[in-house]
Symmetry: C2
Subunit: 223 residues, 2 copies
DNA sequence: AAGGCGCATTGAGAAAAATCAATTTTGACT
DNA sequence: AGTCAAAATTGATTTTTCTCAATGCGCCTT
């Protein structure tokens, strides 16, 4: 575990030997890694668990911009901005590595490999953000939720029962819906036996049916 | 004009002298720079004009993922993916510089400055995508449109009458709304004398009022 | 100047989603 | 096991948005 590569193909030891300060951190549900506006001192790699990136609107409404899974990076916006752009909140028991941003900065100037790795992750983030925009802009609630559940499942391959630490408000904040609407649709999915839920775990019983919903639009033009 | 820096602080001549193939391109409304799935051979910098990045869903619905203005880069996803992720379509008469991706790749390995510049632009793209997610996820149609118009205006500082080459369907595809709904809201804005429109040009008469709409949520709780 | 075409607008009705207000379920703690 | 608080569900209603269909307008061509 300790010797697995955590960033840019380097493991903890190698990073440390390059002068990087790396700290293992264990977090649990609700922990705040940083808040929007905090001065950005650290970046993180998520080794296990799940984290949400949250932004809030002036009127208090919260939106989950991105959900992070094993292997994802966060806090790297600190490489440009002096402050974090969103809050990072831990959803499930997680293990992270904390990297000093200033040192990472220096390291990336010396090692093109690191620079390259960062750019690649950024690219992935952009990719996933663009997909999210598609979902929000073009699909209805039912389809968004179906897509989301299937995507969530992809992060836990060959696992019948998936860890599912998201509350209804979390789902709503990610999918741009009201809590109640999410709740209704989830209830529907259960009634149709597409999914099953219990104590923070989710089982997808009919991926096929969800996939159909996910791809379909308002009206059912079968041409 | 020709000697202005176009990328990573380098101007056309400097890039050429570094072995980069740079081509000036003039486009007009409707031109397709590349389509989704095209093998990615070039990246572009947009010198003047406007370009839309479009993705389409299986069911044919189109979404505008991002709108590009003077100074923006596009096509850089080709540095990771072999193919373009979306279509790039010119909205208004535009001038672009076309860069060879393979050479750019090589250049970026040699010059950290270039690598750094690319990462920075990526970061900006991510930033704007995340803002867009906020808009789509948390605001209603009226507010989205108001925000959008104000943002558009920011790209043309100290200009009373803004170039506005977007059709109603374009606006709808960007804001995740139906064409008709956009049309209604625009008509409303005109009736309230918030804006004025004519032949592809837009004038914002009451930025203050738009700003209020932009920040407000469904119900009007004045506390 | 007349005709026609594409785009924008408007209207009416239906569908989707939000809101408000209970009620039920769940899970934690004693 | 029993109580309590938080979270989820459900129901009723309103608001928002979409859809479908018709109409209007501007611009280009002839």
């Amino acid at each position: 575990m300790r010797d697995r590569s955590i960033f840019a193909g380097l493991n903890t030891e190698e990073l440390r030997s390059l002068g990087m300060e790396v700290q293992d951190i264990a977090c649990h549900q609700g922990d705040v890694l940083y808040r929007k506006g905090d001065s950005a001192r650290h970046a993180y790699t998520l080794r296990t668990g799940a984290v949400k990136l949250v932004k809030s609107l002036e009127n208090g409404r919260e939106v989950i911009i991105r959900l992070l899974h094993r292997g994802d990076l966060l806090g790297f916006e600190g490489m440009q901005d002096a402050q974090h752009r969103h809050a990072a909140i831990v959803l499930a028991p997680s293990q992270l590595c904390r990297l000093d941003l200033a040192e990472l900065q220096r390291l990336s100037e010396r090692l093109p490999k690191v620079q390259e790795a960062i750019r690649q992750r950024w690219q992935q983030a952009l990719q996933s953000s663009e997909d999210h925009i598609m979902e929000l802009g073009a699909k209805r609630a039912e389809a968004r939720l179906a897509t989301f559940l299937l995507q969530w499942a992809e992060h836990y391959p060959r696992l019948r029962s998936l860890p599912f630490p998201l509350s209804r408000p979390d789902l709503a904040a990610f999918l741009g819906l009201s809590t109640e609407h999410v709740s209704r649709i989830m209830a529907d999915f259960k009634r149709h036996a597409f999914i099953q839920e219990q104590r923070g775990h989710l089982e997808i019983l009919a991926p096929q049916s969800l996939a159909e919903l996910a791809g379909k639009w308002p009206d059912h033009k079968p041409d």
